[in-house]
């Protein structure tokens, strides 16, 4: 059964990029949300295996979405991989505090991202 990936990102080029990366692989299916509120709604309905979560989002930012997901017993098992253009240690620390399972900095190449996703889902 293919793994469900919820992509949360407000840049349409990056959404298309992420969807293309994972839809080209046989064992993944992607859905996407463009803001924090929509992300939580889709996460509740679709129960994704992993959320690729941008930090800088409209409505609710990535940290808040992550906190909501991890504090909700029905979704807390969902893996969260944070993606951000902010590359300072403090940003990484904030992501950890919010409960993110891993963190990848923009820009990235597809293999690095796939590796991180597989590592997270493999350990599930």
């Amino acid at each position: 059964m293919p793994k469900k990936i919820l992509i949360v990102e407000d840049e349409k080029h990056i959404i298309e990029l992420l969807c293309t990366i994972f839809d080209g692989l046989a064992n993944y299916r992607t859905i996407y949300a463009r803001d924090g509120q929509e992300a939580l709604k889709l996460a509740r309905i679709n129960a994704p295996d992993i959320i690729l979560l941008d930090i800088y989002l409209p409505e609710l930012d990535g940290y808040e979405v992550c906190r909501f997901v991890k504090s909700d017993p029905t979704m807390s098992h969902t893996k969260v991989l944070m993606i951000s253009g902010m590359a300072q240690n403090s940003d990484l620390l904030k992501a950890q505090e919010a409960g993110a399972d891993d963190y990848i900095t923009k820009p990235f190449i597809s293999t690095a991202l796939i590796e991180k996703v597989e590592a997270l889902l493999g350990s599930n």
Partner: protein
């Protein structure tokens, strides 16, 4: 269009002139009548008596101390025997219904007093009493002050309704006083004019106080305001119909009239007090304070030196014929409140009055004691000794003047202000407070606040030196809060010479500036502290100078620390924002390039991916340009190439780009067709408007309207370009720092809106470099309008 506009301007100007001419003619007519009344009164004697019926018996009821009857010894309760050559009973028969007769109907009178003595008086062949002439003179002086102040206000503030009302009030007051005199000497029209003027006067005053405050501008043109004249209109209609008989106002009408104009005065006084306590603008409060003080100055001596002694002692301290002179404080107060734009600090004047009053009292006491001593030994000393004693006394008084003045000033300071301070403790406490704050604004506020509050200064301002070398206001208090004064201070700072050292005094431009102190840390100027004179206008003491030196030395260290923290924070923000903004387009470029290498997509997909790479490369390029521009601006390397251009053509370049960036917003273009050519840098101007339009798109909801407008302002020699949106608006917390680097509005609704926070900073710098000016108006959650003014004349800057 412009013809219609100029027609309106002409009509308006014509209306203004018409109003001026009409009211000037009215004023001159009233003035002529009043002066005629005074002149006639000065040459004609008056009886000054009122007969009244008491238990079917006529007696002298009221006697005017300035009339001929009083001068001839006629007193209250004397009984009339003969009036105007006929028996009193016969003469008074026709007035029995009314029960009283005015003195002016009586030309000859003979009375008998309780002791059986007969007293006679006749107007014929007599001149007015000296008391009457004194009263007339005093009344004329009061009227003169009313007229001068009224005409001055009217001509000084031609378009001001409050000035017109104070002018009309002055005319009506003059008419009341002159017609009152004239009615006593039997000029037939005088009582009518007196009644009309005294009925309308208080309501004019009420009208004045209703429209004077600037916050009541809405009331000025509201026709409902004229309803306040209803009581006087009713009373005036009643007067000829039922209130006047036998050449005199009827008794009941006099009571009614008194009630009507009493109500008017009470209403006016109520509005003054209401205005004072509910005023929102300091200007209104100050105006009301001036009026209240002038009213108090008029009535308190009138009460304590006139009315009260007259009721409790044998007579008034100020003779009644002169006490009217005190009324002159009222027109002076009214007109000062209307005319003045630079309000006087009435508190300071009162306090200085107290200081110098006390000094005078102490010095007079010393001199008085000396003179008394000399007088006591007058017989035993010779002329030489007298001269020597006088010289010694003069010397002692002169020597004592300085210490007396200082100790009284200190005493007043203690009473009105804070206790004397210990400058060491203040400096120490400032140092401790500065240690607990780190941000530049709080540090600046503490420094200015300590100096201004401890020294009772009228104002203070601290300018902090920015990295670019320019000065920015860090904090301001009191009279230096005003932006125009800060601009003048900045001018002064830019012109200052190294020869002017601390402490320096006064510039001609800012008369109340006392000190302009450079704050130097590690041999580098970090700021400038500007301090005004003391609110009391006293000189600075040596203690004050020590305190200023202490504050400046503590401020230097604190400012340097705060600026370092500020620089680090700016650098952190720069790194963080730049990193984020650069990485986002880079992700698309790297990601799609990576996919193209790894996969073999169909042609259409390949093209789409390549286009994504291209779009994001452009975006990356724009961000790098912005960052380079900021770097150029901050290092003073701005290169502006001014050329003559028509803005309409430039809008055609920039608008399509903005329209392409969104299909969710409505664009409205409102460009005046015949825009004057201007000298601008085309690229930079396009970038300014582009940045404003881009922000309007970013911060407006879907469906929001964005309006680009431009119009000539020929009188100001400039073109105004504006970009209006229906977006989230700008809150108070963002207004001050909107044009600074990396400033982003941090509100829930701005999350996810991309931007470097450099656009407005660059727009401001480019606009100013082209001699223009940029500003905005905004209402939270309703939208914002950004204005750019570009000069139309060569080498001129927009003010």
């Amino acid at each position: 269009m412009s013809q219609i506009k100029s027609m309106f301007v002409r009509l308006f100007t014509y209306g203004e002139r018409l109003r001026m001419v009409a009211f000037t003619i009215l004023g001159l007519c009233v003035l002529t009548i009043s002066i005629t009344f005074f002149a006639l009164s000065a040459g004609t004697p008056h009886m000054g008596i009122e007969l009244s019926m008491n238990n079917y018996d006529w007696i002298v009821k009221i006697i005017d101390p300035t009339g001929l009857a009083s001068e001839r010894g006629i007193k209250e309760n004397d009984k009339p025997i003969e009036i105007n050559g006929e028996p009193a009973q016969l003469f008074l028969e026709k007035y029995e219904k009314e029960g009283f007769v005015f003195g002016r109907l009586i030309r000859e009178l003979t009375v008998i007093d309780d002791h059986g003595y007969l007293k006679s008086v006749a107007l014929k062949d007599n001149s007015p009493s000296s008391k009457f002439l004194a009263r007339l003179g005093a009344s004329f002086v009061v009227c003169l002050i009313f007229w001068i102040t009224g005409f001055y206000a009217f001509f000084k503030r031609r378009k001001n309704d409050a000035a017109l009302l104070s002018y009309l009030f002055a005319l009506s007051f003059g008419l009341i006083l002159s017609a009152n005199m004239a009615s006593e000497i039997a000029i037939p029209a005088a009582p009518w004019l007196e009644v009309a003027a005294s009925l309308v006067g208080p309501w004019l005053l009420l009208h004045f106080f209703l429209v004077l405050p600037e916050e009541r501008a809405w009331l000025r043109n509201n026709p409902l305001i004229y309803l306040i004249y209803l009581p006087s209109a009713i009373t005036l209609v009643l007067f000829p119909l039922v209130g006047y008989a036998n050449d005199q106002p009827m008794l009941w009408f006099r009571t009614f009239r008194m009630f009507e104009y009493g109500t008017g005065f009470v209403a006016a006084a109520g509005v003054v007090v209401f205005n004072y306590f509910r005023a929102t603008s300091p200007r209104t409060q100050q105006q009301m304070k001036i009026v209240l003080i002038s009213c108090i100055a008029a009535f308190i001596p009138f009460l304590f030196l006139g009315l009260l002694p007259a009721a409790t002692l044998a007579g008034p301290i100020i003779p009644s014929e002169y006490s009217i002179l005190l009324i002159v404080f009222i027109p002076i107060g009214l007109v000062y409140a209307v005319v003045t734009e630079k309000l006087m600090d009435i508190d300071v004047i009162i306090r200085r009055g107290v200081v110098y009053g006390l000094i005078m009292a102490v010095m007079s006491a010393i001199l008085g004691a000396g003179i008394f001593t000399v007088l006591a030994f007058r017989n035993s000393i010779g002329a030489t000794q007298e001269i020597l004693i006088a010289l010694a006394l003069g010397g002692i008084t002169t020597a004592l003047f300085g210490p007396t003045k200082n100790s009284i000033e200190s005493l007043i300071d203690k009473i009105f202000y804070k206790d004397r301070y210990d400058y060491r403790k203040i400096t120490q406490s400032l140092s401790t407070s500065l240690n607990s704050v780190k941000d530049l604004n709080s540090v600046s506020r503490l420094i200015v606040g300590t100096a201004v509050n401890t020294l009772n200064l009228a104002g203070g301002c601290l300018f902090v030196k920015a990295q670019s070398g320019s000065y920015e206001a860090g904090a301001a208090q009191g009279s230096f809060v005003d932006a125009s004064r800060q601009r003048k201070l900045l001018n002064l700072i830019s012109q200052r010479s190294r020869l002017i050292e601390f402490p320096n005094t006064a510039s001609k431009e800012i008369s109340d500036l006392a000190f302009l102190i450079p704050i130097i840390a590690a041999e580098k100027e970090v700021g400038i502290l500007c301090l005004s004179q003391k609110a009391t206008r006293q000189n600075f003491s040596s203690n004050d100078i020590f305190l200023i030196q202490g504050i400046v030395s503590v401020a230097a260290i604190a400012l340097q620390g705060a600026m370092l923290i500020h620089d680090v924070s700016v650098r952190d923000t720069f790194v963080s924002v730049a990193s984020h903004e650069l990485r986002t387009p880079l992700t698309s470029i790297v990601g799609y390039a990576d996919l193209l290498l790894r996969r073999d997509p169909p042609d259409a997909t390949r093209k789409r991916w390549l286009k994504n790479i291209l779009d994001n490369s452009h975006r990356l390029n724009a961000i790098v340009d912005d960052l380079l521009n900021v770097s150029r601006i901050q290092s003073g390397r701005v290169n502006i190439k001014l050329e003559r251009a028509n803005l309409s053509n430039l809008f055609e370049d920039v608008l399509p780009l903005s329209r392409e960036s969104t299909n969710k917003h409505e664009f409205v273009v409102n460009i005046e067709p015949d825009l004057t050519d201007v000298n601008i840098d085309r690229d930079k101007f396009t970038q300014v408007v582009g940045n404003l339009l881009s922000n309007a798109v970013k911060y407006s909801p879907n469906g929001g309207r964005i309006t680009l407008s431009a119009h000539n302002e020929p009188t100001e020699h400039r073109i105004i370009v504006s970009v209006a949106d229906e977006g989230i608006g700008i809150g108070l917390e963002d207004k001050g720092s909107l044009f600074t680097t990396f400033h982003r509005i941090q509100r829930p609704e701005t999350r996810g809106i991309r931007g470097s926070g450099l656009g407005l900073y660059i727009a401001k710098e480019w606009t100013e470099a082209m001699g223009g000016k940029i500003w905005f108006e905004s209402e939270l959650n309703k939208g914002s309008i950004f204005f750019v003014a570009i000069p139309t004349q060569d080498s001129k800057r927009v003010n």
